[in-house]
């Protein structure tokens, strides 16, 4: 018995040796799993990275099976989705997995990003990890937006109509560009067909490639941890971090808990609440696209609503408020800030430019610019954050207050974006828009003031 097993081992080793000479299988396994060191104090916030990969794989898998039955044709698309829901064996399950999966993907990605912000995972030396992640976020939004047109329901149709019209504001080429993107004078069969191509081929390829780059960049610099300190500062005689543990098996078995727990929430939603009370699948999307009848209120899916709210909040009064704020910042810069005269002049010129733009630009154009800026802000985070410590555990009070205010603004914007605007709601959205941008604009300031707690030299971990 013992000899037999030994023989098996030997022949397996021989096979691996043969492979390793031709392909770095063992090397990759060791570098990225068995010997990739992660801090032992990971908490539940660290589940969301692996869960995002899980969601990507699940969306690809369910998407492939949907593609087998779906027809990207304006005449047939809506009926083919109902065909999947009724006539295809288990088609309803595959479709719900995909539609609920899209929302779950965003839940996971938002929490993953938030984890980065609170533990300083975007800070030096992980800026590129963060930047690639931001590109993934943008690609994911494009993927979701195009996917939402495919059921060809009335909300699909009008949602695409509204969002594509944003390109109209680009000077001179806008309207022509919009027509080119649509391939028609309205959203039509041509638009559906090309969105299908982007949704099932182009963007999935880009996403997979970006995720690969995200991981390559991460493994170059190593994972951060909830204490936001460098585990390689304390290494043993072999050069292994004292506070590090091997990704495989330790982090993997831990992530399995996250996977099982997440699947309970995800599949619970799929089986018991697939339309999420009209949030995951909107009522108006169960009526076929009708170019003559707009739904009573067009709202995007929840993951776009914070940005959509910013778009809608952009009216003359918001621009007026922004002009005043720009002026105040310049004033403060000259009176109080301790920066060089060059920086002062540079920033003042920039502010004058923005001021003139706000004064003469239309609310519509600025809505689009602000919405885009709201996303671009995330890209700048590594350089806006000046705190001497990385983790929220040791951050100063001003940062914590600002973060909570930002979260409140983000959620309120998200809520408002799901509902029809009233004058009161628009005002609230404008206040939250200002708060949203203030968080990023003032970050260099509030991260450099206040008293931070001393960082420990080793990660905080108690074995249970």
């Amino acid at each position: 018995m013992a000899i037999h097993r030994h023989d098996n081992h030997k022949s397996a080793n021989a096979v691996m040796e043969w492979v390793d000479k031709r392909f770095p299988a063992t090397k990759v396994w060791n570098e990225h799993l068995a010997e990739y060191m992660a801090a032992k104090n990971f908490n539940f916030w660290y589940f969301f990275g692996s869960l995002a990969i899980l969601m990507l794989v699940l969306q690809l898998a369910t998407g492939i099976f949907l593609t087998m039955h779906y027809k990207p044709d304006a005449e047939l698309a809506f009926a083919s989705v109902e065909y999947i829901m009724r006539d295809v064996p288990f088609g309803w399950l595959v479709r719900y997995l995909h539609s609920t999966g899209a929302s779950m993907f965003f839940v996971v990605v938002y929490l993953h990003m938030f984890r980065g912000v609170i533990y300083g995972s975007h800070r030096e030396p992980r800026e590129l990890v963060w930047l690639i992640g931001c590109v993934i976020f943008v690609a994911l939004m494009a993927e979701a937006f195009m996917g939402y047109l495919l059921p060809w329901g009335n909300m699909s149709y009008w949602g695409a109509q509204v969002i594509l019209s944003l390109f109209d504001v680009i000077p001179y080429v806008g309207p022509a560009l919009t027509e080119w993107i649509r391939g028609d004078f309205v959203i039509s069969d041509a638009t559906l067909n090309r969105f299908f191509a982007f949704h099932v081929i182009l963007l999935p390829l880009i996403l997979v490639a970006l995720v690969f780059l995200h991981l390559v960049a991460l493994h170059q610099v190593g994972s951060n941890n909830p204490d936001g300190i460098e585990i390689y500062d304390h290494v043993d005689e072999d050069g292994k971090p004292l506070d590090g543990i091997a990704f495989f098996p330790y982090i993997v078995v831990k992530d399995l808990i996250g996977v099982a727990g997440f699947l309970i929430i995800y599949l619970g939603n799929v089986f018991f609440w697939p339309d999420g009370g009209g949030v995951l699948l909107e009522k108006d999307n169960f009526a076929p696209a009708n170019s003559l009848q707009t739904p009573p209120d067009i709202v995007p899916l929840w993951y776009f609503t914070p940005f959509y709210s910013i778009l809608r909040a952009s009216t003359t009064s918001l621009l007026f408020a922004l002009e005043i704020i720009t002026g105040l910042i310049v004033l403060w810069l000259w009176i109080r800030a301790k920066v060089s005269i060059k920086a002062k002049i540079g920033f003042t010129l920039l502010a004058i430019g923005v001021f003139l733009g706000l004064l003469f630009g239309s609310g519509k154009a600025w809505g689009v610019i602000l919405m885009a800026a709201a996303i671009v802000c995330f890209f700048l985070l590594p350089w806006l954050d000046r705190s001497p410590v990385y983790s929220i555990r040791y951050r100063s009070l001003p940062f914590k207050i600002a973060l909570v205010l930002f979260l409140a603004a983000f959620f309120i914007l998200g809520y408002l974006g799901m509902n029809s605007p009233t004058p009161g709601r628009t005002l609230l959205a404008q206040i939250c828009t200002v708060a949203y941008f203030a968080f990023f604009a003032l970050m260099p300031w509030f991260t450099s003031i206040g008293k931070t707690k001393p960082e420990p030299s080793r990660v905080v971990y108690e074995a249970h």
């Binding site: 399950l93 996977v259 089986f271 169960f286 799901m418």
Partner: protein, 264 residues
């Protein structure tokens, strides 16, 4: 840190609950609540019978198949063929209307919408209220009107069941609950509240008001089933799936604890 996590959880749940509560509320039309029971096969069968007899002559259910309905509702095939289908149709055919769309448009001004998904576009409560809110109105082209859907092109298809009701007045928001008690009254001449409107039955139909409400509950139940036929199996499969995942979660927790004994 704990406090921050709690705050985040609280914010997320508040936003989700707040928005979904709003989405469920609809556009503020006053509707009656329907009490459906998806596992009541008799109710679903009765709803199917009413649907075929009273709706299918003008409306189609073009994504729904006869044999699927029969299978899900425990209707025997012979009964399906004899009572619910036209002789020329195959049992696996889609439930299309016999009325050509052009005729329908000529007669009603608009083509009657397909009803496969109506319960998902509207809501079961809306349908239940709408079906019971037809009243006589000489000024409308069809002679009928509907208090929930003003000037709807559709005539009262089921007046022979319900009888003829006329409008008495509107309920103001405060007294709605008080008058609701009359909803179960059976006597002709009594007032009945549907949605936000008070009706009086001027000519009785084949069914008493209580029987009619029950029939409309059955029809609404059937329409809800038809909007998503998979819902009958969906929850059953869901229970097994979640039970399995809970066991898997426990195993994963034990496994993690086991491996993490190494970590000091």
């Amino acid at each position: 840190m704990k406090k921050l996590s709690l705050l985040v959880v609280a914010l997320v749940s508040a936003a989700v609950i707040g928005s979904s509560a709003f989405a469920a509320g609809g556009h503020g039309a006053v509707v009656d609540q329907v009490h459906m029971n998806m596992s009541d096969k008799a109710s679903l069968q009765n709803g199917a019978k009413i649907f075929v007899n009273y709706c299918l002559s003008c409306h189609s259910a073009q994504y729904s198949r006869y044999n699927r309905v029969a299978k899900d509702l425990d209707i025997p095939l012979w009964q399906l063929k004899e009572n619910l289908m036209f002789t020329t149709e195959k049992e696996g055919d889609l439930m299309k209307t016999t009325m050509p769309a052009e005729n329908a448009k000529a007669w009603f001004g608009v083509a009657p919408p397909d009803l496969s998904l109506v319960a998902r576009v509207r809501s079961p409560d809306w349908i239940y209220t709408y079906l019971r809110a037809f009243y006589i109105d000489e000024s409308s082209p069809s002679g009928w009107n509907n208090s929930l859907f003003e000037n709807v092109a559709m005539p009262h298809a089921m007046y022979e069941l319900q009888g003829v009701q006329k409008i008495v007045g509107k309920v103001d928001a405060d007294s709605h609950g008080a008058i609701d008690a009359h909803a179960s009254s059976d006597a002709v001449g009594d007032h009945k509240v549907v949605g936000d409107t008070i009706f009086e039955l001027s000519h009785p139909g084949k069914l008493t008001p209580v029987e009619f409400d029950k029939s409309m509950t059955d029809l609404t139940t059937f329409l809800s089933y038809m909007a998503e036929p998979a819902q009958l199996q969906r929850k059953t499969i869901g229970v097994y799936t979640i039970a399995f995942l809970i066991i898997l979660l426990i195993l994963c927790i034990l496994l993690k604890k086991e491996y993490w004994r190494d970590v000091h």
